[in-house]
């Protein structure tokens, strides 16, 4: 995907969010650290352009909810910041890539510790398949079938597909 395609996808997703929720009352956008945060910020801007409403925005780091703690290095990268009450509200969770679904599972557990949301909807720019849990997105930018060993990179310039590079810990 190139920059334009990403912008168009975001606009479409914004319209879908408004349509699905019959407006933006009681909607909160939460970006997952770190890839989902820039996208979530852009989504909030686009929603404001379309509806004139400033939707509350938060960020969530799920390090402490991961199911692989103790198996590999796990550290929170950014501090979580959710300043609004979630109980009774609809949370639109935003991430860049949906893959196995484990990060989203961890995010659902984290959100539960903030209150009882009325609903949680999932928006992702890219769905690359290979789900390991029964998680499905409500809003998708693009479906991108991949091999397990490929890497999907979402940046401001667009979406790239590349080979898996060994990370710093040599795994």
């Amino acid at each position: 995907m190139d920059t334009d395609e990403v912008s168009r996808a975001l606009k479409r997703i914004a319209h879908e969010v408004i349509e699905r929720n019959h407006g933006l009352a009681e909607v909160v956008v939460v970006g997952l650290q770190t890839g989902g945060v820039p996208l979530a910020e852009r989504l909030v801007r686009v929603l404001k352009e379309i509806e004139g409403v400033s939707v509350p925005f938060g960020t969530l780091d799920v390090a402490f909810y991961r199911d692989d703690i103790g198996l590999r290095p796990v550290l929170p990268e950014e501090v979580t910041s959710i300043q609004v009450e979630l109980t009774g509200r609809t949370v639109v969770l935003v991430d860049d890539v949906l893959f196995t679904g484990r990060t989203v599972r961890a995010a659902l557990d984290a959100l539960a510790d903030y209150g009882r949301a009325r609903a949680v909807q999932l928006a992702v720019m890219v769905d690359r398949g290979h789900r390991e849990l029964p998680i499905r997105p409500d809003y998708v930018g693009k479906n991108l079938p991949t091999r397990r060993d490929e890497v999907v990179d979402v940046t401001a310039e667009g979406v790239d597909l590349g080979e898996l590079v060994a990370d710093r810990s040599g795994r």
């Binding site: 650290q33 770190t34 890839g35 780091d61 390090a63 402490f64 909810y65 692989d68 703690i69 103790g70 198996l71 590999r72 290095p73 796990v74 550290l75 929170p76 990268e77 501090v79 979580t80 910041s81 959710i82 991430d95 890539v97 949906l98 893959f99 196995t100 484990r102 990060t103 557990d109 984290a110 539960a112 510790d113 903030y114 209150g115 397990r148 060993d149 890497v151 990179d153 898996l164 990370d167 710093r168 810990s169 795994r171």
Partner: protein
């Protein structure tokens, strides 16, 4: 940080280097946020068992550790000296091996004898945290003290947008990362203080300049290898200190001939009301608690706004959560920059 594989321990401040300490601070920041949530707990250490072995009683520190463990969803086992089989003549090693056989992941050990956590480490597969050993060290206290100083410095930097920065503290936009350039005075009975020994190691690792202030009888017999200065003249250095860290003076010290009297100590080394007026601009006052009002600190001085004493207590839980997570959750070397989002599982 002593890198990577194998069990991690925090028996001495020497188990963490500067990077390791900063890593603990970042974790503590994250756990501070957790404490503000409606449900102030994360499942990070679910399934892990943390045992507190407090051979020397201390309700406050023990509760701080137990709260930290519970907020991480770990199971907590409490062993108190009186309930243990130590009274039946079982050796320390036998006691540790018995607890180890029950399958604990971490032991938090406090003992009136120096060196017990180091000995325990040789006898168990669990991670060992030193909760205070005799006169040797109290690493989590030093960590929470330095964390509290950093918190105060960062708040000050945030409040003083555009104003000249805090002395000698470059750092990110959110304020100083460490204690570079800070002058810290540790005042009192350093000789018998585990808080001071850990404090010196932590503060100097973070770039602070440390001066020990006290009578010669209360300084360690040898300061060989200690990266500090020392002086018996508090008034001479008081105005130059950014942080004044006061140690407790115990009654026994005057009884054992090390001090003529506690009154004389207060006159020479106490933070009297008069001395409080001569503190440097922006100087911070700290104490590991509990305070002897009228000995190391005058009542009025303890309640000054520049006193960080209550914050030290509060930050204890966050820092101890960070330590437990570091030992039991974050296995592997700390990353230099975050790249985990880019790996296979997302």
């Amino acid at each position: 940080m002593i890198a990577g594989t194998g069990t991690r321990h925090l028996v001495s401040m020497t188990d963490l280097d500067r990077e390791g300490i900063l890593g603990i601070f970042h974790l503590a920041d994250a756990f501070k946020e957790v404490a503000e949530r409606p449900i102030p707990r994360v499942p990070a250490l679910r399934g892990k068992t943390v045992a507190t072995l407090f051979f020397e009683a201390s309700t406050r520190t023990r509760l701080s550790f137990e709260t930290a463990a519970k907020r991480l969803s770990a199971d907590v086992m409490t062993f108190s000296a009186s309930a243990s089989s130590l009274e039946k003549g079982e050796s320390l090693r036998d006691t540790i091996e018995t607890i180890d056989a029950m399958g604990v992941d971490a032991m938090i050990v406090r003992h009136k004898s120096s060196g017990v956590p180091a000995q325990v480490r040789a006898w168990t597969k669990a991670s060992v945290v030193n909760g205070g050993d005799g006169q040797h060290e109290h690493p989590t206290q030093a960590l929470l003290d330095c964390y509290t100083i950093r918190e105060a410095l960062r708040e000050r930097a945030a409040g003083a947008h555009g104003a000249p920065g805090v002395p000698g503290a470059p750092g990110g936009p959110s304020g100083p990362e460490d204690l570079s350039g800070l002058r810290v005075g540790i005042v009192g009975d350093v000789r018998h203080s585990r808080v001071a020994r850990s404090g010196v190691l932590a503060m100097t690792a973070l770039g602070a300049e440390v001066v020990l202030v006290g009578p010669r009888t209360l300084l360690p017999p040898s300061l060989d290898g200690w990266p500090v200065k020392s002086t018996p003249d508090l008034d001479g250095v008081l105005g130059t200190l950014d942080v004044v860290y006061l140690l407790r003076i115990q009654q026994e010290r005057s009884e054992s001939g090390l001090l003529p009297s506690l009154e004389e100590y207060h006159r020479r080394f106490g933070l009297t009301r008069e001395r409080a007026t001569r503190l440097g601009e922006g100087a911070l006052v700290m104490h590991p608690g509990p305070m002897n009002r009228g000995v190391e600190i005058a009542s009025e001085a303890a309640d000054l706004p520049c006193s960080l004493i209550t914050r030290q207590v509060r930050n204890g839980v966050f820092v101890r959560m960070a330590v437990l997570f570091h030992l039991l959750g974050a296995s592997g070397p700390l990353p230099v920059s975050p790249h985990f989002a880019r790996t296979a599982d997302a």
